[in-house]
Amino acid sequence: MSNPMNAIQVESLRKNFGRQEILRGVNLDVPAGSIFGFLGLNGAGKTTLIRMLLGLLRPDAGRCVVDGIDSATKALELRRRVGYMAENQTMYGWMRVGQLIEWVSRFYPSWDSTLAETLRQQMRLDAAQKVGALSKGQTSHLALLLALAHRPNIVILDDPTLGLDPIARRDLLRDVISQLQDRGATVFFSSHLLYEIEPICDRIAILHEGQIIKCAPVDELRETVKRIVLKPTEGARVPEIPGLLDFQAQDGQWSLTVEHAEEARRALTPISRGEVLVTGLNLDEIFEAHVIGRREVSRG
């Protein structure tokens, strides 16, 4: 049963390409109205999952329900209601901007021509310019316009800033925020650049090796995931620490990234020669600890 409070619900989703397992039983709930960051390394399977959300790929097992619609059975109805911007979206270069907007509008019964025109002017896109002659930044803006002009309840952005220079990236993100902030739409924002997601998202999920390894509100992650630095006493062993994400020992100093900081601090205080230093982490560091953290500790 799908939960009406969730804009997107993914249940036990599996997908193989040949012998390669891309998604291995993914479960994911995206609450309605949230800005949801979907993180993963390049090749983690983010785009595959998004393509299944839109009904562009069939899952081998499991299902996706988006806006109450099963993506495998009613893909067209779903795509009419969802705004989608693909990574490196390639559009018809021979069309003019105005022509492309008009052409795409034919596919969406809820298309708002006034909104499209307002967005075009805000994004400073020349209606008479050929799409092929647009810069990468302008192309991304146009793709964003096309994803928003039919006033979707859910917007799926697949690495929208991929290949953009820092200024174009900031410009696009500013537009994403300003257009979606007050509308109450659910935004599913996939990216591998965490610093760009951090200020926008209120919840994130990390996809790694075909599975969701973490799904939590950003504030909760910042609150609970910390780095603990200490100098251990002579001959001390690393105690059992639940939620250990990363361990590094260098020059007689331990650095541990843990999920339950308070618990870990209590366990480590007795074996510390001095003060146990607890520092907060940014999303980038939290992601890194989850994905490439070294959890094996020699306790001998």
């Binding site: 562009l56 067209l76 795509r79 693909a86 390639t90 559009m91 018809y92 052409w103 034919r106 596919f107």
Partner: protein
């Protein structure tokens, strides 16, 4: 829905019109040129034009539409819109058939003009014959070159549409234009080479007639022309109606791929 289909057709026209105009000029030029110069008798010229030359044109039209979009990566953008793959394929097929039919029509008109410019004397005199034409070539195809050309154009167009439909769907899987064109050439050659291997008995001939996209053209110039309507009907069902009917089904979707 009609609005969506019209929008798709409009895009196809913009993308494929250069093929159309190129094909139109080459084909009409060949028809008019061959008939005007009397390189070959009119019925053989027609078989040649609506047979091998037509097949080359069919490959040219069928190979491009999907493969080019995949190569340009616009296919992903198109598929992300709320349009079904079947609808996109039908729009591309419709545009291809319209271009094929118009080219054949204009080619026929060019041929008629060429025949008219020679005062309707296309068939050269047979040396040593008492009559103007040999007994065999006194068939209506030769005595009435204009009518013959119209008949070949009509039957040839249907035959080429049949092969175009199947080839178009088979080549929709190709990832780039070159692979699609090569696939089109190989499939066409394979079909034409394989069919004669089926044997020469009555049953084998019937199978060959049903499977060979060009068989209506050969039938037109023989006494068996009375079977032509039935054969055309079989061809239309086998090569056009059935493939298009199954285009939205999962098996064909799977074949065409993402």
């Amino acid at each position: 829905m009609a609005d969506v289909f019209r929008a798709l057709l409009r895009k196809e026209w913009h993308e494929q019109r250069w093929r159309f105009f190129l094909g139109l000029i080459v084909f009409s030029g060949l028809v008019a040129g061959m008939l005007r110069a009397q390189l070959v008798p009119s019925n053989e010229a027609a078989v040649l034009l609506y047979g091998p030359v037509g097949l080359v044109f069919v490959i040219f039209l069928a190979a491009g539409p999907v493969a080019a979009e995949r190569a340009d990566r616009t296919w992903e953008f198109l598929m992300a819109q709320p349009v079904s793959r079947a609808e996109v394929l039908r729009a591309k097929w419709t545009m291809g058939v319209m271009q094929l039919a118009v080219t054949m029509l204009v080619g026929a008109v060019a041929g008629l003009l060429a025949i008219w410019s020679r005062g309707f004397r296309i068939m050269p005199k047979v040396p040593g014959s008492s009559t103007e034409f040999s007994a065999e070539s006194a068939a209506w195809l030769v005595t009435h070159p204009a009518l013959s050309l119209c008949a070949f154009a009509a039957v040839g167009t249907i035959a080429l549409v049949c092969w175009f439909t199947s080839l178009f769907l088979l080549l929709a899987r190709a990832r780039n234009g070159f692979a699609a064109a090569l696939g089109g050439v190989l499939l066409t050659i394979a079909l034409l080479l394989w069919l004669p291997q089926l044997g020469s008995g009555n049953k084998a001939l019937l199978v060959v007639a049903a499977l060979n996209p060009l068989s209506p053209l050969f039938l037109l110039s023989s006494w068996r022309a009375v079977f032509l309507p039935a054969l055309l009907l079989i061809h239309i069902v086998l090569w056009v109606v059935l493939p298009l009917r199954y285009v939205g089904r999962r098996r064909i979707e799977k074949w065409i791929g993402a």
